[in-house]
Symmetry: C2
Subunit: 466 residues, 2 copies
């Protein structure tokens, strides 16, 4: 039996022990958004410090203005072993409405969903304690069987992910040298389906803008002024309607600069995933893709940039009717970016476009809401290739490389502040009900998740040896 087989086998024979350890962590109500649970957050962090110390890590709690970070280091088996940074978060979402839970949120249990399908119940089981423990328990198996870890491992667990991670960026900046590794491993995402592991290779960036159009210096009566005075809602409607052309493309100057076409083989892979427009949109009562014509919904949501109006308000919006011409109208607009689109160039192009449509006697004010570039791992990156093979060895179906429509700020921070690529691999399923009552995590996700990390760590160590 090879080393790897022995380590994998160890997870099979000690699954109940791993599970009991996860349950211990799940029993700690580490709700980060509610100050009443601050001590519990700290307790969860300390539990992880103790667990990692047992595995030979040099581990400690690091205070922040909010909840503490867990930072741990393991040197690995050899001096030239690759160095990975593993990221997860020990805090959880609140549990309201608690009466909708079928099991107590902080009394984890193993339940049989259907014959042969067992799930771990409880808040945090999937987001993110169950996921991060796949890695911790992978390390435990390696340590137990082989006496060390095949890679040099740094672990960073934060306790504020569900509160917007206010301390994370400053912490990364202040501890960049300590935390920098060859790559980051992030375990907070989903599988494609229960049999198919997924690696998120692209994350769209985001630019948010709020615009407010001001016309008259007061609200006007539409009888007295209607037909002569500028109506800021009309101006806003023209601006927003003009953001897309008839083919669903965004009209801003230079918007597609830096957007690369997705390789044909990746598009072909996505086509095999069976996500039809009817299926994807049908879940939310729609059926017709509204975006760029001639592209699949997966390409539209994973690999193409968008402009979306997220909110609009102006004039009288209460019950009944008021014949007013509003003084102001405003909208919140966001752009999802891909490839090498430049957030500041997109913001500038949007502002120039808006200004070009505002009449000379009206004005517009802008308010920026965040801006982050897209993250795109090259599809031919060795890191992706290695992880993909390792995952494909473990699961019934080969691993797929997918995109993510949204942003994960930590990945951008790792890239920007620490110069590291991130490997996003997670074992959640779409129906895990994270952030909702009755959160669960598949026992198979937990078990094969551990085994997946063992394979990935082994493969990364081998690759280094090549």
């Amino acid at each position: 039996m090879s080393d790897l087989s022995a380590v994998l086998a160890h997870t099979d024979t000690t699954l109940n022990v791993s599970l009991e350890r996860l349950f211990e962590l799940l029993r700690i109500p580490s709700i980060s958004t509610d100050p009443a649970f601050a001590a519990e957050c700290r307790r969860a962090g300390q539990w992880l410090v103790d667990a990692l110390t047992e595995l030979g890590f040099t581990a400690e709690l690091r205070d922040t203005p909010g909840h503490p970070m867990v930072v741990a280091h393991h040197p690995g088996a050899t001096a030239d072993a690759p160095h990975v940074l593993f990221y997860g978060h020990y805090d959880v979402q609140p549990v309201d409405p608690v009466e909708q839970w079928q099991t107590a949120p902080f009394e984890p249990s193993l339940r049989e969903y259907s014959p042969g399908r067992k799930v771990i119940t409880g808040r945090g089981s999937a987001d993110d304690k169950g996921q991060l423990m796949t890695f911790v328990e992978a390390c435990r198996a390696y340590k137990t069987v082989s006496g060390s870890l095949p890679c040099r491992v740094t672990i960073l667990f934060e306790g504020e992910e569900e509160s917007g991670s206010p301390s994370l960026k400053p912490f990364l900046e202040a501890n960049a040298a300590e935390l920098r590794a060859d790559c980051a491993l992030v375990c907070d995402t989903n599988m494609w389906d229960a049999d198919t592991p997924a690696i998120s290779a692209g994350l769209r960036g985001l630019v948010g803008e709020q615009i407010t159009i001001t016309a008259a210096d007061r609200d006007l009566h539409s009888g007295y002024f209607g037909g002569a005075a500028a109506n800021p809602i009309h101006i806003l409607a023209r601006i927003l309607a003009g953001l897309h052309d008839a083919d669903g493309r965004v009209t801003l100057d230079g918007f597609y600069d830096g957007v690369e076409e997705t390789p044909a083989e990746i598009l072909a892979m996505w086509d095999t995933l069976g996500r039809t427009a009817e299926g994807f949109l049908g879940e939310v009562g729609l059926s017709i893709p509204s975006g760029e014509k001639g592209r699949s919904v997966l390409e539209q949501t994973w690999a193409r940039p968008t402009a979306e109006v997220n909110g609009i308000i102006g004039g009288y919006t209460g019950e009944g009717f008021k014949t007013v011409i509003a003084a102001q109208a405003s909208a919140k607009v966001s752009f999802r970016l891909v490839g090498k689109q430049d957030p500041s160039a997109i913001r500038a192009a949007f502002r120039a476009y808006v200004e070009s449509l505002v009449p000379a006697d009206c004005s517009v004010s802008f308010h920026a809401h965040g801006g982050s570039p897209a993250i795109q791992l090259p599809y031919d990156s060795p890191l992706l290739g290695t992880a993909r093979e390792a995952l494909s060895d473990e699961w019934p179906q080969p691993a797929v490389m997918i995109g993510m429509g949204g942003s994960i700020p930590i990945v951008g921070d790792f890239q920007t502040l620490l110069g590291m690529e991130s490997l996003l691999v997670g074992f959640g399923l779409a129906d895990d009900r994270i952030h909702s009552p009755n959160e669960k995590y598949e026992l198979q996700s937990f078990h094969k998740g551990m085994r997946s990390w063992i394979r990935i760590l082994a493969a990364l160590a081998e690759r280094k040896d090549d």
Copy 2:
């Protein structure tokens, strides 16, 4: 001295008596919107019944579900005298914020604004007690000097005008035969300026519509669905942006059916009024007419139909940012109508237009908010001509025929329910601060207002004699 001269002269010598009678009425706090003042509303109505009875009217209070109507009849001097219905309202607006009043709102006084310019202060002085008393006191002068009135006069004063006149239409319907006259005289409008009387010959109609676009069956995350799922704010923006063409014309099919061009001599008269775009829009911080190109602001607001979005809402509109694709977005849209535009045809055209732009997997719901046609007295109508001459005899400047951008529902009801044209003549000024603290009415408006009605009644009686 002719009869007319004697009657006119009587108002000059008894102005103080007329004023004291107006003050009596102004002292009654007949605020119709506040149930606490219901008895005061009734008291104001009774005061008018008593006043009219003294003048030889058969007058009484008529109960309604709300505040009572005052109905009074005077047979006039001759059996074939023309029959006029005079309309006004005895209720007033609330007085908040009362601390901003420089004189007590229900303690009327005569104050000198500037040398030679006196004003009557108090709530209701201009809207509408001062105005309706110009007619009552005109009748008093006629009665005193000549023993009768030159016309048969029916008077209708309501007590709910500031509360939306809920009882008026049913009352007109129930008493149509009693109230029907040759024409209605309505005294609730303004002069063009302090020297120039005005007759409102056109009132724009109104169609209100609320539309709600529904896309997905729930709010969506713009990261996950953005680029594929329909965004109802985008759909709404396209609908609203498409309502006007580049020349400011409304694009709905058949929208301009029934719109007649204003006669050249009327446009020329309006051009002499000196209302420039810069002056009119400058008062509210604007300068560029935004409506139909090639038309003056007076024509735009008095004689042209419009489409205005009065309110819009959708998605996230709170502080900060939320990357949501809303399930719904809605807008309130109103159309001002002129000439013979058909409210129901406009509503149908709008709905068809909207539906044509809603994707097949989305839906739209409509909610109608009122619909009334425009009122347009023919500019060559004998009623207008007679009144115009009479007014021009009284005031420093000739009377002008103007339009009104808004609707006055009573005028439509008189037309529809009683088949009468209305003559809208009033003596308010734009700076009377009706509905606001420190409402006032010019003493000259009160005095020359009485004299104007005397001249109009005389002219109408003479015209009948022709």
